[in-house]
């Protein structure tokens, strides 16, 4: 297989001959349209056809260097990147599925490989047999959803193996009733840019590999039992095998979930039966239930669906839960890292007539890393009024530190939307204020104004203002300036224990997008 790949690769590699982007672009445009004129191959009465799209994107960023205005961008700090994206998707070609997304254009000047080239940016090829009971799919740089375990995901949907510069294969059997078995294999090139090999994956120098086998047995009305085994080989996060067991039981609308996972830092071939530690039932009762779990394991359980109903008072939902992450358990693929033990109960009250919900989560948590334990209560009250105004009030009470409280006000109508969140945290004995104002307004049918203002713990500020011109859904022009990019920065004020400070990036940005065809990007 590798041999064939090398041969194909050597052919494609010839595209690195220094020709201008115009030539390359024209060539591939012709190739693209020639290829998709192949739709004429299908008879006129065939329901199979191809959808295609062409997108031109141009992004010019000018970095500013002083603390405030004026417009002090310099040409040395300007970055231009543009691309033509060509997409094609087969429609009604069952049992097959194909999607290809190619790109050409100037890439980011920050990269060492600044050049014009054409490459395969994203795509998949698949087949579904036996009324989709058996499927096989090869994917490149696509977001894949593979998490069969709910409480302890072996791999998260945001894992680089399933979203980033990765290539992989998925195969599975799902009869829709009682069995679901799937296999996923992914390789990632973490070092080289996505267009390094003409967009094709570099099997010779992978940044890491990931394999996952899921097997689930389901009984619709009774419950399910699942087994997961994954192997990760990575220079960054090391080698390891992760086992996962999940079970669920349903009775009278109540669902009990329990999941157990164990991480062993060896490769799959070195694994034997003794590698698994398993539960130490003799340790039960020494210092709570957590003593029965080995340090390299994680356990989580939840009971869902316990509900009290009253026609006047409304319904109250209770979700008790427990989770244990051992001190030597680390599963970055599943975004489970911190070592802790926590027991909690989540209750949610909904009023039958008023648009009001009250949610309380109370728990007791102990962190092995910081060697501290505390009790906490997190509650939120959400009220939605008919005028489009929503008020959220939240309180985070944590043992040992002062309470954090937050208020979110959201105004939403057909012309504008604004969310203002105000949060006060205890920071080494001082009260610190965080504030986020994020919203947009349609100035007219064509113009839209957006703004994001963020204050982090009374000390750091970020802002971004952008103006969008959208005469039709096929054309977009946007100019923005500010000290951060709100679209790429995660700001979590409502949920997290602590607010997050995004990276400062003073810039002025001009963005244009022209879209033709029938596939949305």
């Amino acid at each position: 297989m590798k041999k064939w790949f090398k041969i194909i690769w050597s052919i494609i590699h010839t595209y690195e001959i220094p020709v201008s982007s115009v030539v390359i672009t024209r060539f591939f445009l012709i190739l693209f349209f020639s290829f998709f004129s192949a739709r004429s191959v299908f008879p006129s009465d065939s329901i199979s056809y191809y959808k295609w799209s062409a997108i031109y994107r141009n992004n010019l960023e000018l970095y500013r260097n002083s603390q405030s205005f004026s417009w002090n961008a310099t040409l040395e700090n300007s970055h231009l990147s543009d691309e033509i994206v060509l997409m094609a998707k087969g429609m009604n070609i069952k049992p097959f599925a194909i999607f290809l997304k190619c790109s050409t254009g100037r890439k980011d000047a920050e990269s060492l490989d600044y050049k014009n080239m054409f490459y395969l940016k994203q795509g998949h090829v698949g087949i579904d047999l036996f009324r989709e009971k058996f499927y096989l799919k090869a994917y490149l740089r696509e977001r894949i959803y593979r998490s069969s375990m709910v409480l302890l995901p072996i791999v998260s949907n945001d894992s680089p193996y399933l979203t980033g510069n990765a290539v992989g294969v998925i195969a599975g059997i799902d009869n829709g009733r009682w069995v679901d078995i799937s296999y996923t294999e992914a390789r990632i090139s973490e070092i080289k840019p996505e267009y390094y090999n003409g967009g094709l994956p570099d099997f010779n120098d992978p940044g890491g590999s990931f394999r996952l086998l899921n097997a689930n047995l389901k009984w619709k009305k009774i419950g399910h039992f699942g087994l997961s085994v994954s192997e990760t080989q990575s220079i960054q996060i090391g080698n390891g095998v992760t086992f996962g067991f999940s079970s669920g039981l349903n009775f009278y609308g109540i669902r009990a979930l329990a999941e157990y996972s164990e991480k062993i830092d060896v490769s799959f071939l070195e694994l034997n039966v003794k590698s698994l530690n398993g539960l130490d039932l003799k340790g039960f009762g020494k210092d709570g239930i957590s003593d029965i779990f080995p340090d390299n394991s994680a356990f989580s359980m939840e009971v869902q669906g316990v509900r009290l109903k009253n026609p006047v008072l409304g319904s109250i939902l209770f979700i008790p839960g427990y989770r244990y992450y051992g001190i030597n358990y680390s599963n970055p693929e599943g975004e489970i890292g911190s070592s802790l033990v926590e027991s909690y109960i989540l209750s949610q009250w909904r009023h039958p007539h008023l648009a009001m919900a009250f949610k309380v989560k109370a728990g007791d948590i102990y962190s092995y890393d910081s060697n501290e334990g505390y009790k906490y209560i997190r509650n939120t009250l959400r009220m939605r009024l008919k005028t489009g105004f929503t008020l959220d009030g939240g309180l985070i009470v944590r043992e040992g530190v002062r309470s954090s409280y937050l208020v979110t006000m959201e105004d939403d109508n057909q012309f504008s939307r604004l969310i203002s969140t105000f949060r006060v945290d205890d920071c080494r004995g001082e009260e610190k204020i965080s504030f986020l104002s994020d919203g947009w307004i349609n100035i007219s049918d064509l113009w839209m104004l957006r703004s994001s203002l963020y204050l982090y713990r009374s000390t750091d500020s970020r802002y971004s203002v952008s103006l969008e011109y959208r005469p039709s859904r096929r054309f977009l022009f946007m100019v923005s300036f500010g000290s951060f990019n709100p679209y790429s920065s995660a700001i979590a004020l409502n949920q997290d224990w602590e607010p997050i400070l995004s990276e400062k990036n003073r810039r002025i940005c001009f963005f244009t997008r022209i879209w033709f065809g029938g596939i949305r990007d």
Partner: protein, 299 residues
Amino acid sequence: MKLEQISHFCGRYLLVTVVVICVLVWPGSTSGYTLQTTMSEAMGGTFTTVPGEVSVIFLNPAAISNIDKSLFYLDYTNSKIREVKAAVAVPLENLGVGLLWYSRSNEENEVVDGIAAGLSKKIFRGTPDTYIEVGVNFRIERFAFDFYSGCSSCGQTRLYDSDIKGDIGIIIRPLPLISFRYVAEGLRESDKLDYDSDILGEKSGRFGATLFLKENLAISWERGYRNNPGINHYGFCLKTGVPLELMAGFSEEAISGGVRLKWGFMWASFAFSQDGGGDIHQRISFEIAPGRFSDVGTE
């Protein structure tokens, strides 16, 4: 002389006076204490004149004639500089008359007290929500501070000094969609109150514009010439579907925000803004109008 004649007289000479002074003092370029109100602080210091906003009479005397009902305004902040402000404004025909009082102090026990009388007139009315307003304030300001003579037996002496100042302002709203404004503060140059204190205001000039969109959003920009090369302020105020307004703004990469609750005849506002060194200014204010004034078509 009838009130109408007074109004006509004031309007004619106010316009001439304001235009001449605006040209002469454009722009001011000194530093000193930046006067703020709750609304202006919430909107990034834009000193804006959004519909229904009354506190702006502290910042631009031309806005006094916006009111159509008598009202009382109280503003308080307790940050490094403690400040209390109060105002009474009364509409008279096309005129607006206001009486203002303010007091601020810092950690060095320095105090500035001031009382001001303001007069404003809407000198031109076009189609609905288009007008030109001019206004003027006369202020008497007193500065109190502790003086150390150097003599150990003498101790410290409390000294007082006072001065008369003036502010002028103009608001031009050529279209319901947009308004422009200019204000010059502390016009009269004097060797009095020439102290190095962070609570003393000095001569300055500000100009800006406000864009009114969809009847519920005001976006404001202002440029203040307190320090060279001038500082830009940006802010907005959004009327929500409930009697609540949300505000936010930024200036010099410092964020500010606030809310205003409109509850019957009393409006309450809260604002905060970021200061250097991790400090946060907080400010509250109340506006009480026994006969609630209309916020439509005013600025």
